[in-house]
Symmetry: C2
Subunit: 337 residues, 2 copies
Amino acid sequence: MARPTIGDIAARAGVSIGAVSFALNGRAGVSEATRARILRVAEQMGWHPHSAARALSGAKTDMIGLVSARPARTLGVEPFFAQLVSGLQAGLSVQGVGLQLLIVEDIEAEVETYRKWRSANHVDGVVLFDLRADDPRIAELERSKLPAVVLGGAGPLASLPNVWVDDRAAMLRIVEYLAALGHHRIAHVAGLPEFWHTQRRIAALRDSASELDLVGATSTTTDFSDEQGAEVTRRLLARRPRPTAIVYDSDVMAVAGLGVAIEMGLSVPQDLSIVAFDDSVLARMMHPSLTALSRDTFALGELVAETMLSAVDGATGGVQAPMPELVVRESTGLPRD
Amino acid sequence: MARPTIGDIAARAGVSIGAVSFALNGRAGVSEATRARILRVAEQMGWHPHSAARALSGAKTDMIGLVSARPARTLGVEPFFAQLVSGLQAGLSVQGVGLQLLIVEDIEAEVETYRKWRSANHVDGVVLFDLRADDPRIAELERSKLPAVVLGGAGPLASLPNVWVDDRAAMLRIVEYLAALGHHRIAHVAGLPEFWHTQRRIAALRDSASELDLVGATSTTTDFSDEQGAEVTRRLLARRPRPTAIVYDSDVMAVAGLGVAIEMGLSVPQDLSIVAFDDSVLARMMHPSLTALSRDTFALGELVAETMLSAVDGATGGVQAPMPELVVRESTGLPRD
DNA sequence: GATGGTTGCTAAAGCGCTTTAGTCATGGAA
DNA sequence: TTCCATGACTAAAGCGCTTTAGCAACCATC
């Protein structure tokens, strides 16, 4: 049999199409008895909503959008992203909501996508990440009233619901740990300078360095690639005096940096301590294994999903993501001097 | 201004709505002069198709579906999957086609999803992977005429378009390489036994072992997790005589296996050679780095995207994916005896 | 000069659903 | 008794697009 429509249900239940719509959407306008009967018939006929028809008449789409302006190739390499997407999808699917993925060239194309999606009622909401200082997406989304959840915190900027990740506290945690071991010259291999979280981490290092009287604390930005991670490490380790510890903004860069250190004849952690700002199988399985700031990225994705679903229903305000935990492994130890 | 509809364009261009539709879809029914004029007006008014409206009237959706019945958590860990999805998305987006991701409980739910999508005209086609022997999805998709592309080859089973990956040749390549080094006792830590590609790899090892007179060739299936990879490795290395080489069906398991070997006091590659069937940053960055069968998974995703787009237009038949290349690194060498 | 076939276009139905305006009992208050 | 609210429901419009049927004008044909 062909897909049953609400018309079929209406006929079978002996009511009008409108009544069926009310019943199925839990809205006022039908008595409880009728509602129950309609639902029973719908169930029995195996009815499912037709998403396009719903979208066309302006109702919910049961679809969330995720668009990324990072280069597609690097996305596949980032365990963080893959984990996040999995968690997000898992969190959405408990409510039968789908995830639409899109990779675009640049942030303008991203904004343009939001505009199109909004006017075509294509998604119920979007998830934003990799926020930048003065991000054009924020303005667009606030203006257009497309529900959005910002991952990483929209901070002072915005009224958008967000999942707030406390990068500052996380960086402080790392620096305090290293300082307690006796490290003074701490280097930081950061990510893309335009990202807000990069800036927050850099500021956190600067502040805690001055507070703890660490003389040689420096941050260097990169594009998150293992190549740049390796190159910056090479430059840092050529300095005299050498840093005794390096903090990497991603696990991939940390692993690359470890490779460089070993290649340069340094032993880890005796000559150099290494900390990764992100954890993953990669960090866990290296030899020496990497001390890393570990968070459950999958769970973070689920949290974003939850926040998104309530944002669609009009909720606002932020949620604090759990503070990541510093997992001490083999790559950190007392400095030699 | 509100989103322009084809009605607005029609009014402005002084033609009927139908004419506009013909013009925008490149169909017969309007003269070239009129078509050009309509397109100009549309462009000028910033018109974009309304996907829901299109889908509702049975036309193309510009959306491809990818549903996975693997546990969500493991998906985030697999570099293969992330790379594939990125490549797929990149390949689709050149034609403005989106990707809808869905993670479901089991294969029945997956089939059910295809059925719903088909009847709601939700996607133009779907991508299938992790094919099993006697896969129920094949039957459903052939019956329902939902365009589908099978990754990994639909083999003799099916009429579906596919991107064929030659696991047999790949395994032969590895075994020949190891045999040439002088290895006889080759163990194979395989993936899930129900997957077709697992079965093909196991058969390939068995065949080539008998052909090359390798006495101790064995395959053991796992669930692809690093835990099981480690456990099986432990069991294999406890055997006497020990295998001199182990082939792992995924990079994650290979890394786990390497960890076990080192933990047991073996040196790689002197006491044990290790080959991974999949390459990734992980394999490249380990110490020792892993010899691996390397393919450009991102490009594979793009190839799948291309095949999908032509399948939507009615094309059929398979494409052979490029043969992966064996990248020899530090984890393989001559056996000690 | 009537016939038939194109070509270029319009009108209108229809896709499945939501939503607004309206109808008709029923019940309680005046 | 009359009047107005309220509750339960129906009818129908409308979302933006595709597609079929139809129509008029034009050309070539015998």
